[in-house]
Amino acid sequence: MTMSTDHRSTVSRQQSEVLYPNSFPVDVWLVFLRELRPVLRDPMSVVFGLLQPLIFVGLFMPLLSSFSGGELDLHWFVPGVLVMVSLFATASTGSNLQFDMHTGAHERTLVLPLRRGPLLIGRALKEMVPLTVQACVLVAITMPFGFLPHPVGALVGLVILAVFGVGFGALSYALALAVKNQDWMFWTIQQAVLFPLMILSGMLLPLEQGPGWMSVVAGFNPLSYIVDAERALFAGQFGPEALRGAAAAVVVVLIGLFVGTRTMRKA
């Protein structure tokens, strides 16, 4: 392939698209595939990721149930834990990228003739696979104990979780790129964001019984809409809660991919 560079020297970076060997979707697909392979080869690692949520279901849920006089049961609690699964699984995924930044594997991808966007999008899309598997296993484990999800509602709920996970994973990658090699900074910021997001979503405890300001703050937390939507959908209610949750997930994925690809372009 020979081409004259004379007329190209004045065109901007964006217009040199034709010089990439693969199309945009193929770039995304290849990055996705590469990221997914270690997961497929070692599926047990995904299941082990369920340990923490299972501890919440096994030890926290009975307490909650007693305190609420049995009102808050598996049907209230499990959808919240599913959101927790997608939150925790994707929030730490930036550390995988940080590891690649340490080893040199990330730099390697930057000298490939790949668009920067797919480098991020492919990675973020992969996040929905382990998270969906974890969610399904968790539902399967809780069903013998009396959790009865509405099949269609559960399916829609899983899709919303996957969309949210892609967006939140993208933000985690963006954080890893932004803090560069400072691992401690990644974990500090990640924890500082993660726990307030979790508590202020009503995921583990109902916020209605808390002080008023908490409900106000929760109104700005996209996660609270997703938690409400999951509870509604797993109970088979396709009302405004479900719609608001879906909208929140879409907002998160758009922000995540926008911020993520921007950060990757600057890397």
Partner: protein
């Protein structure tokens, strides 16, 4: 368009370090022809890696311009990336990927079809002696195997220009010899241009056809290893006499053998006289004979070929060893700051 593979003019890179600005590269001018094997030599922090990363589009230059493989690194970095191979100082492969899968995936990133990438991976696995670990996970490989995998990943698309950033650091002598065999085979079979940085003086001396010495962000010398040594130092004859007096007596007879303009290098230290001489070993018998005819007897003689360390000393007044460069290929474990 010129036929140069690399053409850089006044390329600069300035990093902000706190409130200070660090000029890592201060005006790099490089021209490299197709098929050349160029070694970039210099102490830690001289700007070698930064220069390589600029040319490989991993960093954006602060000033200047460069065309690499026919494309502008500023306006067409993607086109440059598709045409070069780059093996960085660190490892390229994902630690939890399998060796063969990783090479195939690299090929597909460069636009090869799945089966073509597979065939290419198999031939690279064979030629880089990685066949035995093809299905292993990268994290289980030894250091030498990982380095060869890095090279395989850099070669998967058969680039006409290969950048290598300290490819042999941390390799044992046998792996290092293998690596050089592969690099030379690449040159012979595909006429690949190789542009590399190295930590090791003896390596640059033995294998590179052209050495660029870098110091404080500038190229301070650029020639063949033998050219650098001949121009800057030249070969030397060392004569040892029985006494100071005899050594002093010999001096006037030696002047004629010293090249014009190098008389100040004719040097007596105690019983020993050292003088620069072109083709020293060929001229030595004649020198001994002339001295004998004048009644001065040297009781031992030696010819000295300069090393690249002598070259660096002549250029900067510092030895490379002081400047933190390994003068032998013993692993030093030192890393150059990017």
């Amino acid at each position: 368009m010129s036929m140069k593979v690399i053409e850089a003019e006044r390329l600069t890179k300035t990093f902000a370090s706190g409130s200070k600005e660090v000029q890592a590269v201060r005006g790099l001018d490089v021209r490299v022809d197709p098929g050349e094997l160029v070694a970039f030599l210099g102490p830690n922090g001289a700007g070698k890696s930064t220069s390589l990363r600029l040319l490989a589009t991993l960093l954006e230059p602060s000033g200047g311009a460069a065309h690499v493989a026919g494309h502008d690194i500023r306006t067409d970095p993607a086109a440059v990336r598709g045409r070069i191979g780059y093996v960085g100082q660190l490892n390229s492969a994902g630690h939890n990927q399998r060796v063969r899968d990783e090479i195939i995936m690299q090929g597909r990133f460069y636009g090869l079809a799945k089966d073509a990438a597979g065939r290419r991976a198999d031939s690279l696995l064979e030629s880089l002696e990685l066949g035995g670990v093809a299905t292993q996970v990268v994290s289980s490989l030894s250091g030498g195997q990982r380095r060869r995998l890095d090279i395989a990943m850099g070669l998967v698309h058969a680039p006409s220009l290969l950048f290598l950033d300290e490819p042999s650091t941390g390799l044992d002598p046998q792996s290092r010899a293998n690596l050089w065999r592969h690099i030379h085979r690449l040159r012979d079979e595909y006429d690949t241009t190789v542009f590399m940085t190295t930590h090791y003086l003896d390596e640059a001396d033995a294998f590179a056809e052209r050495v660029m010495v870098m110091d404080h962000g500038r190229v301070i010398a650029d020639d063949t290893p033998s050219g650098l040594k001949a121009d800057l130092i030249g070969e030397r004859v060392v004569l040892e006499f029985d006494s100071h007096a005899e050594a002093e007596l010999a001096l006037p007879h030696l002047r004629d053998h010293v090249p014009a303009g190098a008389l100040q290098d004719l040097d007596r230290r105690g019983n020993t006289v050292e003088l620069p001489v072109h083709s020293a070993s060929r001229r030595l018998p004649e020198i001994v004979l002339v001295l004998a005819q004048a009644g001065v007897t040297a009781h031992s003689t030696e010819t000295k070929r300069p090393t690249l360390d002598d070259v660096f000393f002549a250029l900067t007044g510092r030895t490379l060893r002081e400047a933190g460069v390994a003068t032998t290929t013993e692993p030093s474990g030192e890393e150059e700051a990017a």
